[in-house]
């Protein structure tokens, strides 16, 4: 186990709207190891983006971090991000924690050249001349493999394609050597081939810069390729948390099982429909009682409606201690499924 870079404990982020309190993140605990990648998976609206925005403290009113702690370990110092003054937090953003967004088309300011935008990011955190900042910008563009970086630095974002813009975003985010890169669905808006290129690039840059990555996605393929650990979220909660290989071989939570089952697989007859998880994501204003997944769960029992499960290590011999699940009946379901596989 490597040492942690960020440790989130019992984080709660709520949005106080006119219709009521939206508990977007409830009691989330996770650890981002140094130099490794943590994948955060879940459907839209499950709280994965809010978790990320809580780390970088960009939750805007009516949203608020209600309780919990986010510890950032920087050169042996422990920095508590939830209580850090705004001015200090601003220094953390960009220089320690950087973020890239889903939409590369709108994440760059259309009226400035890409070079000047990267140079600005550099100058926000380092006292360098504009010439040096510009050189750094060109160097970063070169590092994210933009051909002819010298010339392209003085072009405007609308001269760039989606994939190129995402590279520029990555260059901008990494220009100050952050320790943590939060990537919020970095490849969702891109073509498949470009997706692979961007993910490859992120991995290579991770090796080069030695940063940690928190990658948020709903694409299990991206997780398989990128993540070391995976955290599955459902309805504001962590439902399963395990190393990536472990999760892919032994998904335990019914929701995770559903996610894997609903992936298209080559070779299946075309007329056979994809399996889906029945029902819809519950509204965060009216979460069901007990386990929030029970209305959609094929294995739900009476207990699930009343009692909220805790995140725990399942009592199964083949499961390593790093694998935790948020389900009352993980063991029973696993036995049932194994029996079903054997009978076939």
């Amino acid at each position: 186990m490597t040492e942690p870079l960020v440790e989130i404990k019992n984080l709660r982020t709520h949005f106080f709207t006119d219709e009521g309190v939206v508990k977007a993140v409830e009691d989330v605990s996770l650890t981002i190891p140094r130099g490794k990648t943590l994948g955060l998976v879940g459907e839209s609206g499950c709280g994965k983006s809010v978790t990320a925005l809580s780390i970088i403290r960009l939750i805007s009113p009516p949203g608020k971090i209600v309780s919990g702690s986010i510890a950032f370990y920087d050169d042996g110092r422990k920095i508590e991000l939830t209580t850090l003054p705004e001015a200090e937090m601003r220094k953390m953003r960009g220089s320690r924690i950087a973020m890239i967004f889903q939409e590369p088309m709108t994440s760059l300011n259309p009226v400035f050249t890409v070079g000047s935008q990267i140079a600005e990011a550099v100058r926000l955190h380092h006292r360098v001349s504009s010439r040096e900042a510009w050189d750094r910008a060109v160097e970063m563009l070169h590092k994210v493999r933009i051909p002819d970086a010298q010339r392209r630095a003085s072009e405007y974002p609308h001269h760039f394609s989606g994939g190129m813009r995402q590279r520029v975003m990555i260059a901008m985010a990494l220009s100050c050597n952050p320790k943590l890169l939060i990537a919020d669905e970095p490849s969702t808006a891109l073509d498949v081939t470009i997706q692979a290129q961007v993910l490859d690039l992120l991995r290579d840059l991770q090796t080069e810069f030695g940063m940690s990555i928190l990658i948020i996605t709903h694409d299990l393929g991206v997780i398989a390729e990128m993540a070391d650990d995976v955290c599955v979220m459902y309805a504001s909660k962590v439902v399963e948390y395990a190393p990536v290989v472990e999760l892919f071989t032994n998904p335990l939570h019914p929701y995770t099982r559903g996610l894997f089952a609903s992936r298209p697989e080559p070779g299946k007859p075309k007329d056979q429909k994809l399996r889906t998880i029945p029902g819809v994501v519950p509204s965060p204003l009216r979460f069901p009682s007990g386990c929030k997944f029970h209305p959609r769960c094929a294995y739900a029992q009476e207990r699930c409606k009343k009692e909220e499960p805790v995140l725990r290590r399942p009592n199964l011999s083949q499961i390593p201690p790093s694998h935790v699940v948020h389900c009352h009946f993980a063991e029973q379901i696993e036995e049932q499924e194994e029996a079903a596989v054997k009978s076939v």
Binding site: R90, R93, G94, M99, T106, Y156, A173
Partner: protein
């Protein structure tokens, strides 16, 4: 494009007005020293006191020759004065406009080779007044809109960016100011101010006409603050001030320039209207509105040139500013420029 050229031309005319029309030399050598008496048109204090001491009384050609035979001078293109009438035999071949006025059969102050746009009832050249009047027209537009855009952009940006109670308070403030009838307020204030100058006028126009700018800025900010690049800039550690004034404002500027250039046109109109009513720039100052004011008894009468030329000047200037507003919008927005290619 034509409009922009016209406005640039207007600026040049305003800047060079004493060199185009005037009775003071641009440069003169008097008693061995170089002087620039024409600067006196910008500010009486910039004229060297030696000319007052030597009793020039504003009549340079004769005085220079009489008091220093060695003197030489470079004269403006047209020898006419916006403040006083030119006396007979003051300048080669230019007759006193008084004579023309006194002789109704001959001329009656009509436009002629010496007075391009005619003269006022007091015999002052209208062309000189128009040329020197551009200074006030340009100044009014810019100073008052400078004040208005500063207030309007700041208030609109704060309201749109921060939303919440700041927006509520500032939006009500905008609505309150919008309810104030500008012209009446200006008339009231001018009657209170002991010695109203054109600067007071500009300040009042400025502090009452920022509402449309503020409302547009606010709308733009409400839209732009949700853009991902604002979040991206925040994520890189940029401060609110930096995001407002660099990232968002730069994007909001193109649409905001439109009400500003409309505002310049409106400010010129207000100043002309006030001068026409006799509340504008105090009378000896040449302004287009003052010329119109002199012409108000003659709109359909004999001295049509007093109405036509200043009126045409105001009309063309306002039209050009409105056209330039549109042009600026295209020029400052790289996306529109791209589309135009």
């Amino acid at each position: 494009m034509v409009a922009l050229v016209t406005i640039v031309l207007l600026f040049l005319v305003a800047l060079c007005s004493p060199a185009i029309v005037g009775t003071k030399p641009i440069v003169c050598n008097y008693k061995g020293n170089l002087y620039f008496p024409c600067l006196g048109y910008f500010n009486p204090k910039w004229e060297n006191p030696i000319f007052i001491k030597d009793k020039f009384r504003g009549v340079y050609p004769r005085s220079l020759k009489q008091k220093d035979a060695e003197s030489w001078a470079v004269w403006p293109l047209v020898y006419q004065d916006p403040y006083r009438r030119v006396k007979a035999d003051e300048w080669h071949g230019v007759p006193s406009s008084r004579e023309m006025l006194d002789n109704p059969v001959q001329n009656h102050g009509k436009p002629s080779a010496h007075n391009f746009f005619g003269t006022t009832p007091y015999g002052v050249d209208v062309f000189a007044g128009m040329v020197h009047g551009t200074r006030i027209a340009v100044l009014v537009g810019f100073v008052s809109m400078g004040i208005a855009s500063f207030i309007g952009i700041t208030i609109g940006a704060l309201a749109g960016y921060f939303r919440g109670w700041i927006d509520v308070v500032l939006s009500r403030l905008i609505e309150v100011v919008m309810c104030i009838p500008t012209l009446v307020l200006i008339l009231a204030l001018i009657s209170v101010i002991a010695e109203p100058t054109v600067w007071h006028l500009m300040a009042i126009i400025g502090v009452t006409s920022w509402t449309s700018i503020a409302r547009l800025t606010r709308a733009e900010f409400l839209k732009l603050r949700e853009m991902d690049y604002v979040a991206a800039a925040r994520a890189l550690g940029a401060s609110h001030v930096r995001i407002i004034f660099i990232h968002v404002l730069r994007n909001a500027l193109a649409p905001v320039l439109v009400p500003i250039s409309f505002g310049v046109a409106a400010a010129i109109l207000i100043e002309s209207a006030l001068s026409f009513l006799g509340f504008g720039a105090p009378p000896p100052n040449p302004s287009w509105g003052n010329l119109l004011h002199l012409g108000q008894d003659h709109i359909l009468g004999k001295m049509w040139w007093l109405v036509l030329f200043p009126g045409l000047g105001i009309f063309l200037t306002v039209l050009c500013y409105n056209l330039v507003g549109e042009g600026l919008q295209e020029a400052t927005d790289p996306r529109l420029r791209q589309a135009g290619k």
